[in-house]
């Protein structure tokens, strides 16, 4: 069964970029363009990985990470947050809230794939 990814990112271009990479590598990707959409999808669908932008309006990536970590399948879902380098403060909080990895923007195809693999292995190790 292919790995299901929930991609939460408010920039359309970035969503298109990440989706294209992941789909080319046989991930199954669902896109959410804001935190609310992600909140709607998370309890109802099965995801293996959540890739979320940290700095989104309304529900931010830190809040989303904590939501995942307090949800029913919290130990099984890998959370990878993406953000610009400048947002060190926000990334630190996301990691504290339970993210399994951080990937600074901009990133290459290879970097994205590696970051997802690392985040997943961390979840599996702690499971």
């Amino acid at each position: 069964m292919s790995v299901r990814v929930l991609l939460v990112e408010d920039s359309r271009a970035m969503r298109a970029y990440v989706s294209a990479i992941l789909e080319a590598h046989e991930f199954e990707v669902e896109e959410a363009e804001n935190g609310f959409e992600a909140l709607r999808m998370l309890p109802r669908e099965h995801f293996d990985v959540v890739v979320a932008d940290v700095n989104m309006p309304d529900v931010n990536g830190i809040e989303l990470t904590r939501f995942v970590r307090r949800g029913p399948r919290q130990a099984e879902i890998a959370v990878l947050v993406i953000s610009t380098d400048a947002a060190a403060h926000d990334v630190e909080r996301a990691m504290t809230a339970g993210a399994n990895g951080f990937l600074p923007k901009p990133f290459t195809e290879q970097q994205l794939l590696e970051a997802i693999a690392n985040a997943r292995s961390r979840v599996q190790a702690s499971a």
């Binding site: 408010d10 920039s11 359309r12 271009a13 970035m14 298109a16 970029y17 294209a20 990479i21 080319a24 959410a32 363009e33 804001n34 935190g35 609310f36 959409e37 909140l39 709607r40 309890p43 109802r44 940290v54 700095n55 309006p57 309304d58 529900v59 931010n60 830190i62 809040e63 989303l64 904590r66 939501f67 970590r69 307090r70 949800g71 029913p72 919290q74 130990a75 610009t84 400048a86 947002a87 403060h89 926000d90 909080r93 990691m95 504290t96 809230a97 339970g98 993210a99 399994n100 923007k105 901009p106 290459t108 195809e109 702690s126």
Partner: protein, 698 residues
């Protein structure tokens, strides 16, 4: 990279983002002018640049990426209060808007864009002067479990709200999982009436499986009771945001045990009273996302429009056959039924046509935003303070027309500022307000859209226009003597007319007004001007709503059928030969007190015709192009039709006065009159209204 996205996607998408950025800057400037702040606009400006950076990175648009990266840093500093937002800062940001526009144009054409180094230095300079350190506002009584999930920006906004003496509330809401999008949108609007929403905290243990609970942090000047009462109908509960002293902040680890009693709001004060939480009565809605737009190439819409046009022709042909059937008296019931159904079909085709046209419509606000920027810049350059009032920015026009309007409107605004609006001292001496006023208005009038640009400046001085026309040798003194005041004013639309290059005589207009006229005419638009010395000038542009399909007046002359775009038809009237006078060998009639030159279509196209005298009456179709009017003389009016414009075959392309062809029922090809060309010809080179007849022999 495994992804290749077409470069053609980049430019329009980036342009949209830059426009959003520009809009937000204007909001910021407006807030600044009224002495306030607009953190929401500032954050939105930051986000726009953040998106632009992402886009530019993906498409390897180097300079755009570099500039947006540097701007993103500056805007981040601004929104976090580290850098002060001054008018000088806004100047730099507005300059960036212009530079992005130039860079995008260069990117599209594969040119080297403008040099960005100087601007980069100015942007970096913004960060170089940090705001004098404000003592960090304490956040007493706010639990770490909340602070821990705020972004740096959200935390900053929280502090700002405390600093401004606002109360902080926790608004608890519960949503049906499926309807959260809709529910949130509704609630957001209500909350914003009371203050600033800092963040939305989702809670993992909702009241039911198919629900989701949110704690919304709100900073407000209002009393809790007031907010609670106003939001009662939304099914939310409002609580003060203070620390529950009984709960120590808990350290969190990457994997919080599942057994932990979890409630986002659990560490926050005040348990929610039973019955406090009502359902948000939002209806169940679809799972689709909030953004529901598609980008469509205009060419595809044109294609659809053509297909509908063909359908209209088929409809007309069937109508013809039905009519034939009815005349023969065969199967009268069926014939009646058929014509009834044809009427239904005709209505459906009209609706279909309208639906496609609606898709092409965009609000004029897009152009008006650009103009607001121009006013700002030019006003500053000219050292004049100018208030721009915009109304009707929601008025919609065909996308193509809106695009073509930027330049003419830009010229007109420029003229208002350069020539119309007086200097501050001149205005004060004339007893006017120190700040000049420009009103930009748009509204729909029937099937047309009117755009007016009005200034409260010095108006146009007829004497100066006359002097300038003489000096430039555009007209002789005799010509000028015969002209009405309105005709004199309209000289400003002549190519080469300007009063600008004359030192010491800055009044009057002229820069590029001929360009304005040409552009407006190309859009089948009319331009009128009204002016009063000392009080100001109004330019009115009247435009059709769309160009893809036009309503045409079908006329007949010498047995030939022609279509005249209804857009350019001002009125039609019946005249008898005795109404027609001859002035200097040219036929004219008097209409509304003005002399209207006539042009016989039959003679113009050298059609064989019986002598005109044999007809007791003629029809005169008054058509206008920009500010000029002429009367087209035809034998008969056949009615109005919606026609889809088709281009001409090579043979007819050379015929002046013909703009294109279209088909009417029965596969008849009908020629479409090029009103612009006829009027241009009638107006002649010297700008006076010479008759068409003069150029076609006696």
């Amino acid at each position: 990279m495994s992804t290749t996205r077409s470069n053609t996607e980049f430019v329009p998408e980036a342009q949209e983002v830059v426009e959003e950025f520009s809009r937000r800057l204007l909001e910021l400037e407006a807030a600044q002018r009224s002495g306030g702040e607009d953190p929401e606009a500032l954050n939105a400006a930051f986000r726009a640049i953040h998106s632009l950076k992402g886009l530019a990175g993906l498409f390897a648009a180097g300079p755009i990426a570099t500039l947006s990266h540097s701007l993103e840093n500056a805007l981040d500093g601004l929104r976090l209060g580290r850098v002060a937002l001054t008018p000088a800062t806004l100047d730099v940001l507005f300059e960036a808007v212009e530079t992005f526009a130039a860079l995008l144009a260069a990117f599209e054409h594969g040119d080297a864009g403008p040099e960005i180094e100087p601007l980069l230095a100015r942007v970096a300079g913004l960060l170089g002067a940090p705001e004098p350190e404000r003592a960090t506002t304490e956040l007493p009584g706010i639990d770490d479990s909340i602070l821990g999930v705020l972004t740096e920006y959200e935390e900053h906004r929280l502090r700002e709200n405390v600093r401004l003496g606002r109360s902080l509330f926790r608004v608890h809401a519960s949503f049906d999982l499926l309807a959260i999008d809709v529910g949130i949108e509704g609630l957001k609007g209500k909350l914003k009436e009371f203050g600033e929403v800092i963040t939305y905290l989702p809670s993992a243990d909702a009241s039911a499986e198919d629900r989701i609970d949110l704690d919304i942090l709100l900073g407000s000047n209002a009393e809790l009771a007031l907010v609670a009462e106003a939001l009662a109908a939304e099914g939310v509960s409002v609580h003060p945001l203070v620390r529950d002293t009984g709960t120590a902040p808990r350290p969190r680890t990457a994997a919080t045990p599942a057994s932990e009693p979890t409630r986002t709001g659990g560490v926050i004060v005040e348990a929610i009273e039973p019955g406090d939480e009502l359902d948000v009565g939002a209806p169940e809605v679809s799972l689709r996302s909030l953004s529901r737009t598609v980008r469509v190439d205009l060419a595809r819409l044109d294609h659809l429009m053509n297909l509908i046009g063909e359908l209209g022709i088929v409809h007309a042909t069937i109508g013809g056959s039905a009519e034939g059937l009815r005349r023969r008296g065969a199967a009268p019931d069926l014939a009646r039924q058929l014509s009834g159904e044809l009427r239904t079909m005709s209505r459906q085709i009209a609706l279909l046509q309208q639906a496609i046209l609606d898709v092409r419509m965009v609000p004029l606000g897009q152009v008006f935003d650009k103009l607001a920027r121009v006013v700002r810049k030019l006003g500053r350059d000219a050292g004049k303070e100018i208030r721009l009032n915009i109304t009707g920015e929601e008025t919609e026009l065909d996308k193509l027309i809106v695009e073509e309007l930027s330049d003419p409107l830009m010229h007109m605004i420029r003229n208002c500022i350069d020539h119309g609006i007086e200097s501050r001292s001149e205005r004060l001496a004339a007893g006017k307000a120190a700040a000049g006023r420009i009103d930009l208005r748009a509204f729909q009038r029937g099937s047309r859209v009117v755009i007016e640009v009005e200034d409260d400046g010095r108006g146009m001085d007829l004497r100066q226009i006359r002097d300038s026309a003489l000096r430039r040798g555009l007209l002789s003194e005799d010509d000028l003597r015969e002209m009405t005041p309105q005709q004199v004013i309209e000289l400003v639309f002549m190519p080469g007319f300007t009063t600008r290059a004359t030192p010491g005589a800055l009044s009057g207009r002229g820069v590029g007004m001929d360009v304005v006229k040409t552009n407006i005419s190309r859009l089948s638009g009319l331009i009128d001007v009204n002016t009063a010395v000392g009080r100001g000038t109004v330019f009115s542009i009247t435009l059709p709503v769309t160009l893809a399909i036009i309503q045409a007046l079908v006329v007949q002359t010498a047995g030939q059928t022609f279509c005249i775009p209804l857009n350019s038809v001002i009125e039609s009237l019946m005249v008898s030969p005795s109404d027609i006078r001859t002035v200097e060998g040219a036929e004219v009639i008097t209409l509304h007190g003005k002399t209207l030159p006539l042009c016989h279509l039959a003679r113009l196209f050298e059609l064989r015709t019986g002598t005109r005298a044999t007809l007791a009456r003629n029809y005169v179709i008054v058509v206008g192009l920009a500010q000029h009017r002429i009367g087209l003389v035809v034998d008969d009016l056949l009615g109005q039709h919606d026609v889809v414009i088709k281009s001409l075959g090579a043979a007819l392309r050379q015929v002046p006065g013909i703009a294109g062809a279209t088909e009417l029922g029965g596969g008849r090809t009908v020629l479409l009159i090029d009103v612009a060309a006829l009027v241009e010809e009638a107006v002649g080179r010297d700008g006076t209204l010479a008759s068409v007849e003069a150029s076609h022999g006696p």
